[in-house]
């Protein structure tokens, strides 16, 4: 047993009782990284010195003992699309070069203010585009449970780091599954909060109408604690909701009697791995035994969701990624004129998947195709939203498998552009 195996709430309890120190905990995490990360490669950037410095300060505060925040002294990893002041941020892309953020993302500010210790920045699919972490411009991350398999993505590094005890907890981002799917692949808890719940200020934008920050943790209580720390209105993100943040951790009573669980029949389709279906059905049975009411529901527009997502996300990405022009930061190629400078810098800086999505998004937004693709997708998106609105009239929770299969092998799906 190493201290690195502790959950956030276990470590927090031990720190408060002064059974362990944050320096010991942080050292244990970096020892674990030293022992395993040459195989898993969850991290792009490590921040050992700064982490130990913060751990020391956390220990001083813990000594004072005045009701410390649950995150005080806890080593947390960040997906490398969070801006971190003075700590290099790459978004797993070459186009950002040696980008050094001049400020912290709001969520980073919040966990630091709560006394967390940042271990480093974890790998991802470039610009969070992908579901295997193979699209990183630097190297793929491997699933700690089976090194031949992907950890999922795009927050693959964060999920692998949590699963391998290379951190106590992590923060990721989710646009179309980028927290939930890698969490499922690595057997951890991943939560995409409701849009508006958490500020995106200082998160490198991918598809702004869907991007959210969320916790990736070893258990549900840890996710509740981490979400409490990062949620809330932020003037820096006008889409963040001005709503009171509930004390999620106090709501984990274990009591689910009468909770109405909707099981959408469209999520149990052919092509689903039998073991996945078995596991989900098993979980449903378990919840029913504890008093939940199970109801089959229908989300009739499910089969159109991927097409809608792909158009909307690439359209927004093509716009968001227009800022990488090599003028104020990032990579700038030598060229004969301005247009060529843009074109060569972006060609050299972006990987194949990012280019493909920028191309598709630009096409979907271009004159003559806007109505047929972008507007059409947004109309169907309304229908998808209505499906969910109707379902939530009937149930409190919708329960689905996260992915139709367990983690696939590296290289297995790189040929399929969808």
């Amino acid at each position: 047993m190493t201290l690195a195996q502790l959950t956030l709430h276990e470590a927090s309890d031990k720190l408060r009782k002064r059974e362990i120190s944050s320096v010991e905990l942080t050292e244990a995490v970096f020892q674990r990284i030293a022992d395993t990360d040459d195989k898993i490669r969850a991290y792009l950037i490590l921040a050992r010195d700064a982490a130990l410095e913060r751990a020391k300060r956390a220990d001083e505060k813990l000594k004072q003992g005045t009701d410390p925040a649950p995150l005080l002294g806890i080593p947390i990893a960040l997906k490398d699309n969070f801006l971190t002041k003075g700590l290099r941020t790459t978004c797993a892309s070459k186009i950002l070069g040696d980008f050094m953020p001049p400020y912290d993302a709001t969520t980073v500010e919040k966990v630091l203010a709560a006394g967390a210790v940042i271990t480093g920045k974890t790998n991802l699919d470039e610009f969070a585009m992908g579901s295997s972490a193979e699209n990183s411009a630097f190297f793929p991350t491997r699933n700690p449970w089976n090194l031949e398999r992907i950890p999922g993505g795009s927050s693959g590094g964060a999920a692998a780091a949590v699963a391998a005890d290379e951190c106590i907890a992590a923060l990721g981002t989710d646009t179309g599954g980028s927290i939930r799917q890698p969490a499922a692949c690595c057997g951890i808890v991943g939560l995409k909060p409701t849009y508006g719940r958490v500020s995106r200020y200082g998160i490198i934008a991918f598809a702004s109408s869907m991007d959210q920050v969320g916790p990736m943790t070893k258990d549900v209580r840890d996710s509740a604690l981490l979400l409490e720390a990062i949620a809330g209105r932020d003037p820096g993100d006008s889409t963040s909701a001005d709503l009171t943040v509930p004390r999620y951790s106090e709501m984990l009573t274990g009591e689910i009697k009468g909770l109405r669980l909707g099981i959408p029949k469209e999520y149990f389709v052919s092509g689903m791995q039998p073991e996945v279906e078995q596991a989900v059905r098993g979980a449903i049975g378990e919840l029913e035994k504890h008093g939940a009411i199970i109801e089959e529901i229908s989300l009739p527009h499910t089969e159109y969701a991927v097409a809608v997502y792909y158009i909307v996300a690439t359209a927004e990405a093509s716009s968001n990624l227009a800022r990488y022009d090599g003028m104020r930061y990032g990579r700038r190629a030598a060229a004969k004129d301005l247009t060529e400078t843009y074109m060569i810098s972006r060609d050299e800086g972006f990987g194949a998947e990012v280019k493909r999505r920028i191309m598709l998004g630009t096409y979907a937004l271009s004159a003559g195709y806007y109505d047929a693709y972008y507007l059409k997708a947004q109309r169907v998106r309304t229908l998808i939203k209505r499906d969910f609105d109707a379902a939530f009239q009937r149930c409190d929770v919708i329960l689905t498998p996260t992915a139709p299969t367990t983690a696939f092998k590296l290289g297995e799906k790189t040929q399929d552009p969808l």
């Binding site: 070069g97 040696d98 980008f99 050094m100 001049p102 400020y103 849009y195 508006g196 109408s209 003037p235 006008s238 889409t239 909701a241 527009h301 089969e303 159109y304 097409a307 809608v308 792909y310 158009i311 093509s318 090599g326 003028m327 104020r328 930061y329 990032g330 990579r331 700038r332 060229a335 004129d337 301005l338 060529e340 400078t341 843009y342 074109m343 060569i344 972006r346 060609d347 972006f350 280019k355 493909r356 920028i358 191309m359 598709l360 630009t362 096409y363 271009s366 693709y373 507007l375 059409k376 997708a377 947004q378 109309r379 169907v380 998106r381 309304t382 229908l383 939203k385 552009p417 969808l418």
Partner: protein, 95 residues
């Protein structure tokens, strides 16, 4: 085919992406197949459906026009590929 190589070249110019001839060919095929998949959306009649605009209803967010952040020109300019004192240096923009 829904998409021609000339269209791919045009989109690449709009997106300010240089493509090699091989990339043009590959992207024409790949984007064409993706757009083919998108065609399934035309199975649905959406004539009377409003396009989605936001997941939650959001009012315009206004604030006082007041500087709240600290000026930090050095940190911002530190990332510049090229600079001249307190200016970003860029290629000639107007011929």
């Amino acid at each position: 085919m829904k998409l021609t190589r000339e269209e791919v070249q045009q989109v690449a110019l709009l997106a300010r992406l240089r493509l090699t001839p091989e990339e043009e060919v590959r992207l024409t095929e790949q984007l064409d197949s993706i757009l083919g998949y998108m065609d399934k959306l035309n199975q649905i009649d959406t004539a009377d459906v409003e396009p989605f605009s936001h997941a939650v209803n959001i009012e315009n967010t206004l604030r006082e026009d007041r500087v709240t952040n600290q000026p930090n020109a050095d940190a911002l300019l530190a990332n510049a590929p090229d600079r001249d004192a307190t200016f970003f240096k860029v290629p000639k923009i107007i011929e």
